[in-house]
């Protein structure tokens, strides 16, 4: 119904004078501009993503075209001989991230359960804030701590496993410490969204804390838990400086968990400043691979979330 019609039908009741109409029109215009503005910001992100992807692809193309499948079958990254195999770096990236998640998930869930279910009220805030502070420590600090404290400690603990203290497992442990605050914070937040009525009725039925957490709280916040873990995994995949310090930087593919290796981000960080020509292009191709790995991980996480939500009652 247009405003003119309504004015002629009920001139007194809904009467809007000229000034008010003008205001209305202006409001409509602001609304439209607001809509367009927010929409363009959203499109900007997409365009940026596409542009980054495209420029990566263009600059990585010389290496991909030259080496083709060799890029994914060679087992070493030897810049001076122009042999560029991505496997050592891909392997190192995946192994360190999986070690990190394997350590961080149980610890973070434990902290979150303690904070929401068991912790005395007086301790809850200081503990929570401390863990959040851990998330604010710059990664270079973790790297220095890793090389000066954790490395020598592991070497002292198990000299046969860690002859030099550095390696994939050391990097995995550092990454675990780095992602624990993220996973903990998200887990705690989603756990506290469970209504206390639900929680208390379960306790009222005589459930233990473990039973309440396992059968009442976790099932109702599964999506959030997966989200937290994926956020942690995403950070572990792309972490650069701390990993470059402690991973050992060996550019051959060794099927090892505790030995020296490299990760995509660490390899790019240590070689990019001195690289040019085909080596630079190969490093950018490696960046593209990291992009794709992160993308696939996120896609899998989305898929898992969708399945969980569909199964949920």
């Amino acid at each position: 119904m247009s405003s003119e019609q309504s004015r002629s039908d009920q001139p007194h009741h809904l009467g809007a004078n000229r000034r008010e109409l003008r205001l209305l029109a202006r409001n409509g215009m602001i609304d439209r501009w607001f809509e367009r503005g927010t929409c363009s910001f959203a499109v900007l992100v997409l365009a940026l993503l596409g542009a980054i992807m495209l420029s990566l692809l263009i600059s990585a193309w010389p290496a991909l075209a030259t080496y083709g499948a060799d890029f994914f079958t060679q087992t070493r990254w030897s810049a001076n001989q122009e042999v560029f195999g991505a496997w050592p770096a891909i392997y190192g990236t995946l192994v360190t991230s999986l070690i990190a998640v394997a350590i961080a998930v149980p610890v973070s869930f434990g902290i979150a359960i303690f904070l929401t279910e068991k912790c005395p009220a007086a301790l809850r805030r200081p503990l929570g804030v401390t863990i959040e502070l851990l998330a604010g420590i710059p990664s270079i600090i973790y790297g220095m701590w890793g090389i000066m404290v954790l490395g020598p400690f592991l070497q002292w603990l198990a000299p046969e496993l860690f002859p030099a203290g550095t390696g994939l497992a050391t990097a995995g442990i550092i990454l675990a410490v780095m992602i624990i605050p993220f996973i903990t914070a998200i887990t705690r937040d989603v756990m506290s969204t469970v209504p206390s009525v639900t929680r208390e009725s379960a306790y009222g039925l005589g459930c233990t804390t473990w039973e309440v957490v396992r059968s009442v709280i976790f099932p109702s916040v599964r999506g959030g838990l997966v989200g937290g873990v994926i956020l942690g995994l995403g950070r572990a995949l792309g972490e650069t400086m701390a990993v470059a310090f402690v991973i050992g930087n060996n550019l051959f593919l060794h099927p090892t968990l505790t030995g020296q290796g490299t990760s995509i981000a660490a390899l790019i960080a240590s070689q990019f400043p001195e690289a040019d020509g085909i080596q630079r292009s190969a490093l950018l191709a490696l960046g593209l691979v990291l992009f794709l790995i992160t993308f696939v991980v996120l896609a899998i996480a989305r898929y898992m979330l969708m399945r969980i939500e569909r199964r949920a009652p």
């Binding site: 030897s78 030099a164 070689q271 001195e274």
Partner: protein
Amino acid sequence: MLKRTSLLFAATLALGVSVQAQAQSSTITGAGATFPYPVYSQWADDYQDESGVGLNYQAIGSGGGIRQITAGTVTFGASDAPLSAEQQERDGLVQFPMIMGGVVPVINVDIPAGELKLDGETLAAIYLGEIDRWNDERIAALNPDIELPDTRITPVYRSDGSGTNFLFTHYLSQVSEAFSNTVGEGNSVAWPSGVGAQANGGVAAQVGNVRGAIGYVEYAYAKQNDLNAVQLENSDGQYVAPSAESFAAAAANADWANAPGFALVLTNQPGEQSWPITGVSYILMHKQASNAAASRSALEFFDWAYANGEAAANALDYVSMPDNVVELVKANIWSQIQADGQPVWTGAE
């Protein structure tokens, strides 16, 4: 109104820029190798005290130095690996040697300091992972008088691209065919075994931390960190300890007059006293100076360093260039640096 404000703003900005440009004209800018950085920064301090002209040298690595001078963002670049005469020609650059020094293998084993002897073959085999115990018979054969511990060897190497890597792998490639075939020489190579660390300082720290480690660093870093340096067999079959004298002995053999574009690598030089892993750090400048004043003040600094830098260089265990080489550089290279058809360097004032 708006127009006037923006005009005022632009004027302020322009004024600011011109003031800044004036301040910068008394500073020489350079970038490149980390290997000579300790001595360049010492020279820069002394030179500033004497002349009031500052030097802003960014130790970003040889590759970065070559890139920056090619792009023309600095007045001079510095590199440990020489550019070939063709490369210099292609980019319109000239190259001259500035300072020499040595790369030294260092160890962390219970052996009296400076006693362990290694030859090139054995050193290469250690870095290839073929020898992985300190009491291996090949090491024992070279050191009959030392009791070697049964410790695992952990080779430590540079994981970032660097001129130190180039010198070390260039030497190992010359003395070991196996090394040349599997690893090869270059600024960044793939090491089959061991641990990578960042920069000279990182390698020194890692060697200090890991029992049984062996690493290679520029000599100043070995001294500063009090590391146990190894004696190496040179091409005359003599075992020599690293020192400014043995670096100078290696340098004495260099035939600069017949090296096209001054491209020389001083590894594995003949001579009884020669240290086998000696390197030269080079300066790169544009033949056609885009800023004659800046190029001239850079050359004045180098002239000062050639004449007065020896004491500071020796204190840090570098070797300064001999006078006859300096004369060659001034006559053959500096004369090529020109602006508007005139040579920039016309002798010291």
